[in-house]
């Protein structure tokens, strides 16, 4: 029993890490209807930039600020040179463009900072602490706290601010958004910059866990089933989906894995998400497509 709890808690906490990446996706999807495959590359880019700056002996806070600025600038550049020229294109075209973008960012990140593996120490211990019978790493707790804060902040932003409303309007109908006087480029630039910030947070936490290196960019693949389960456009969905996927994935690997030769983690999330979608085609919290005959 206590082992089960361990597995469950471990799963939930690794799910938090997925959520961090998924959040970035949701931001972009909500505002431009784009499934931003480059989010993983942005995570890599952010982490690599930060860690290289600290290795060049910049203080933590300064590195953080500089990286933040760079990510915001990156968001602006993407808006200017990729999204703007592709206004009104089909969502699959945009998706492909972000794939192309991920090449550019990954290439640039490594060109700038090299291909070596960097260790990243945020000063948060990653050793188990005992809570009753359950062992939880302090690092995980901090990660969960950060994720919760971001989700709360973003939800409030979208629900209650007029900028949030503008974001949703732009996602819904671009032509109408232009017609009512919304500046698409502003909205998108803000959204991408925000996504860059989220990527930085995810990059720092993931990087501290895995070391900062190329395969950080593949964490997107972990975020996809999370998105599906939670709904592409739901911030709450990103976190709930992450927790669910984390828990399911780990328990499946531990309890089912041994009977089928292991390695179920690669696909179980997708299969679960798929089964789930058949019941709720827009995910847990996703907006349903509103069609009227």
């Amino acid at each position: 029993m206590s082992f089960f709890v361990d597995v469950l808690v471990g799963g939930l906490l690794s799910g938090v890490m997925y959520s961090l990446v998924a959040l970035g996706f949701v931001l972009i999807y909500k505002t431009s209807g784009v499934l931003n495959f480059a989010q993983g590359a942005m995570v890599l880019f952010a982490a690599l930039t930060f860690v290289s700056l600290t290795e060049h002996k910049l203080p933590f806070a300064v590195s953080l600020l500089v990286t933040l600025a760079i990510m915001v600038a990156l968001g602006w550049l993407i808006e200017r040179f990729v999204l703007k020229p592709l206004v009104n294109q089909s969502s699959i075209t945009l998706f492909m463009a972000t794939l192309g973008l991920s090449y550019v960012i990954e290439g640039a990140a490594q060109l700038l900072w090299g291909t070596e593996v960097h260790g990243l120490d945020l000063g948060i211990p990653d050793t188990p602490m005992q809570f009753g019978s359950v062992a939880i790493s302090e690092f995980d707790l901090v990660a969960a706290l950060i994720a919760a804060t971001m989700v709360a902040a973003l939800t409030l932003f979208f629900r209650t601010t007029r900028t949030g409303l503008a974001f949703r309007a732009v996602a819904d109908d671009q032509l109408a958004a232009i017609a009512v006087g919304l500046r698409l480029s502003h909205v998108w630039a803000i959204a991408w910059a925000l996504a860059g910030v989220v990527a930085l947070v995810a990059g720092l936490l993931w990087g501290a866990r895995l070391g900062v290196q190329f395969s950080l960019s593949t964490v997107v693949l972990k975020a996809l089933p999370v998105l599906v389960l939670g709904g592409f456009d739901s911030i709450a969905g990103a976190i709930v989906g992450g927790l669910l996927i984390g828990a399911i994935e780990k328990s499946a690997e531990v309890y089912i894995g041994p009977f089928v030769g292991g390695g179920t983690e690669g696909w179980i999330a997708y299969v679960v998400a798929l089964g789930f979608l058949l019941v709720r085609p827009a995910g847990l919290f996703g907006q349903r497509e509103l069609v009227r005959a």
């Binding site: 699959i92 090449y103 290439g107 089928v260 179920t264 798929l274």
Partner: protein, 336 residues
Amino acid sequence: MRFWLVAALLAVALLVVPRVGNTYLFDAILTPFLALSLAGVGLNLLTGYAGQISVGSAAFMAIGAFAAYNFNLRVPHLPLLASFALAGLTAAAVGIVFGLPSLRLKGFYLLVSTLAAQYFVQWALTNFHWFANDDPSGVITAPQLAVAGIDFSSSAGRYVLSLAVVATLTFVALRLVHSQTGRNWMAVRDKDLAAAVIGVPIFRSKLLAFAISSFYCGVAGVLWAFAYLRTVESDGFTLDLSFRILFIIIIGGLASVRGAFFGAAFIVVLPLLLSRIGASFFGTTDSGIAELVEMILIGVLIIAFLIAEPAGLVSLWDRGRRRLARLLSFVPAPQS
């Protein structure tokens, strides 16, 4: 006129090229180009025509490759082409299974089904050693390629075999998209509600698209494994390959059979060109840098192409031809 043009092209490809090409041309360019084109045609049927987005093409290629390998291995005296066809059918059957969710899922949500296919298939093929004839590392090797007693094992032979298979299946695809089947697909893609009202069997059309598309990808996988790489492991059929095939049809042109060939040429040849150019620029000491620069360039080119011509290379080509036709006024303008 158009027909003759294609026929002439095919004749050159089949009769002249094998005589003049070298093994590099066959093994590193033409054969993978053909295999990827075929996969592109298959995906285009599904995504371009029927509107069902898929990122699982590589998985169906893997199924094709492993199925052909096993049919060859386990069924004595099975003709090679029969094993190709059976491999295609196996992929089609699996394709139908993963197409079932398309009944309820749309757009990016459908990605999940095909992603599930991508990961599950790869896992199953490596995890159950039977598929690779109990080879512990999960690697399969191509059998001897002989059709009706003629050996196609040489570089040129493998190219010719691929060309024949691809040409035949492309012809079939062209017929298909211009028939009621193809129209049904497009109707489902453009407005499924209206399609349902006029009596298009929505679900059946989607499943048929999944089946046929997977068949094509399956056969493409056989070519990839047998004619191109000759030894493969299921890890070779990665999501990355699926994405590349998706690139092929987007860059080539959605809903265009020809587009798949344009796209494949772009995707196969461009990196080679860039790496050659890169190598002569950077030399040996900085091959890592050359590679990264190349990576960035490919990304930039993809984005640039999407911006310049969202309708794909095909429409670029057609426009160019029309312009040329106007200039020369004896080349027939392509029908739109």
